[in-house]
């Protein structure tokens, strides 16, 4: 340790994101090398620069490793049931449109057990931001196959390797109606932060997929090294392709990772459509719904 590093004023917060976290709940549950914490850092920085009134930001998670994010953020935070963060968030947002509602959960939670809710929330274009952390595996329960596990990868419930076609999540989100779709990795912290901020400020159903290493249960079982090796893999194998056709961004086992902002368009939200429709239908008798 150098003389210089001893001069740190210990009374000051060591990390500017601390004010966004429930520090009394640290240490968190995530494993060394896990990418989820990195994304929370990105999210906190995005919040910091978004200009949003934090009092009005609610975060909703489902169940799983990423499902624990809500509990660590110093916001109104809801840790719901497995797969059901989106319908909870739909109720929260539609009951009080003043709230900025963020759903932060994992690939298994949002697209396996919660897949039906995902497609319908996107279809309705409910004004909310979804941050999906994709680690290709069920981490919390011990490394089972997920709808995102690439063909050829091994999981505890596909010990001989996975042969099921995985989801291409940006394509799924776009085709169901999302107005903002981006994918980054835990390596791309600046891009991911910017994408989350853009998504937070976007009106409508915005979707950010972030690939994150799960060294304990995905990388180790697949002999891909530790978290750092996975970050190096993202660095060396990602290709930034903004506006890429989402049909072409599917992932294969340790293949090229297309990242970027794929969709950014404007469309009336659920409430915009409802208010416009009823105003026309009922005329002066209708007051726009404000919650």
């Amino acid at each position: 340790m150098t003389e210089e590093s001893m001069d740190i004023d210990m009374s000051m917060p060591t990390n500017t994101v601390e004010e966004f976290l429930r520090m009394e709940r640290m240490p968190h549950i995530w494993c060394p090398g896990c990418g989820i914490g990195t994304t929370v850092n990105c999210f906190a920085h995005a919040l910091e620069t978004s200009g949003l009134d934090l009092k009005k930001v609610s975060i909703v998670s489902g169940i799983g490793c990423t499902g624990r994010v809500a509990g660590y953020l110093k916001l109104d935070s809801f840790h719901t049931t497995h797969g059901r963060a989106l319908p909870f968030a739909t109720g929260l947002k539609l009951a009080n449109p003043e709230l900025k509602v963020v759903v932060y959960s994992g690939d298994g939670d949002l697209t396996a057990i919660g897949g039906n809710h995902f497609i319908h929330a996107a279809r309705r274009n409910v004004d909310m931001t979804v941050v999906l952390i994709n680690n290709f595996i069920y981490g919390m329960t011990g490394g089972q196959v997920a709808p995102t596990t690439p063909i050829g990868a091994t999981a505890s419930t596909t010990p001989h390797g996975n042969f099921e076609e995985p989801f291409n999540l940006p394509y799924l989100a776009e085709s169901c109606g999302a107005v903002y779709v981006a994918r980054w990795t835990a390596y791309h912290v600046r891009h991911a932060t910017k994408a989350i901020k853009d998504a937070l400020l976007k009106r409508g159903f915005s979707f950010v997929e972030i690939l994150a290493p799960c060294p304990t249960l995905y990388s180790r079982r697949n002999r891909l090294g530790d978290g750092l090796d996975q970050m190096k893999f993202y660095r060396d194998n990602s290709e930034v392709k903004n506006d890429a056709d989402t049909k072409t961004v599917g992932l294969s086992f340790q293949g090229k990772v297309i990242v970027g902002k794929f969709v950014d368009k404007d469309k009336p939200t659920y409430l915009d459509s409802m208010n416009a429709f009823y105003a026309q239908k009922f005329g002066d008798k209708y007051s726009p719904y404000k919650g």
Partner: protein, 389 residues
Amino acid sequence: MKADPKGVMAGAYFIDGDHACAEGAIAAGCRFVAGYPITPSTEVVERIAERFPLIGGMFIQMEDEIASSIAIQGAVWAGKKAMTVTSGPGFSLMMEHIGLAAMTETPCVFVDVQRGGPSTGLPTLPGQGDMMQARWGSHGDYGIIALCPNSPQESFDLTIKAFNLAEQYRVPVLLMLDECVGHMTERVVVPPAEEIEITPRRYWEGPKEGFLLFKAAQDRVPPMVKAGDGYNIHVTGLTHDERGYPVMTAAAQEKLIRRLVDKIRLNSEAIVEYKEDQTAGADIVIVSFGITSRVAIPAIEQARREGAKVGHLRLITAWPFPARRIRELSGHVSCFVVPEINYGQMVREVERCVAGRTRVERVSHGGGSVHNPKDIYAKIMSCGKEERR
């Protein structure tokens, strides 16, 4: 406080129990309903969908009952009074979220218009087979309140009561209709708003500093705040402490779950409601609920004409169950007769309370129709004969 006059359709109407339930919800201040179509409950949400746009309500038809039963909980944490409506198969799908509402103490109302089951069963025909599911359907232990109206008027009245109890105890309340009560059309009087008593949400009024979302008051019910109020609340289905933070220990479980059970159990005298008819001095008491309580009346009257001393106790709250009253009656009653459209659910509660002190007879019916009153009459008379021997 009194009901918000906006939306209260004061007057006398000729409507069915499903529509009356919708009007009761509106009168109770419910302004968020999420649902998924299912016979024989759909008319409730159809009326809500018709009425809500012009009274500032939000109705959303969700993608399934699982989504509906948690969308309402999001709405409650945003400050609304909220309800979902379903029937058997949908009720089964909602079980996890009844547990979530119990665990997170989210006041909301679940309506189950019961049909014949199990599985798809008899979609258009009556059943009363969800009564134990209402009590025990979600995994783990918790307290719950369930009400069972027997007429469209009571469907209106008890829907309001369901919302009031939900707020009073920060608990999900189940309104257990059956197909007959849901589809029966009768006169329903909607009183003017100033005559409708509404229990407001128990919002915290103390200082923000040190507020604990799950620190209970004397009656074991904690106060609430809502999202956007600046409290940075945390709400989880995990076992949690008074801050709402997860704590994975047996001690935290004991403290929380005991309170969730006790807040209903120890307040049950205040919650329990039933109606009695000629139970004083009765030899035989019919215990019934919902449509069966009306089907039993001709049987009771016939038996009385023939000299039998028959009383009638009608459950209005199925849960909590009027255990103390049944125990009292078991001291002088020689036989309880429990007709219900299932193969023996609430009768088990009667048996539990009677604890062998006297006879309990069931009049079971698989569903698809109501009982023939003759079957209830025959059971009453057979009990009477036993008694005389």
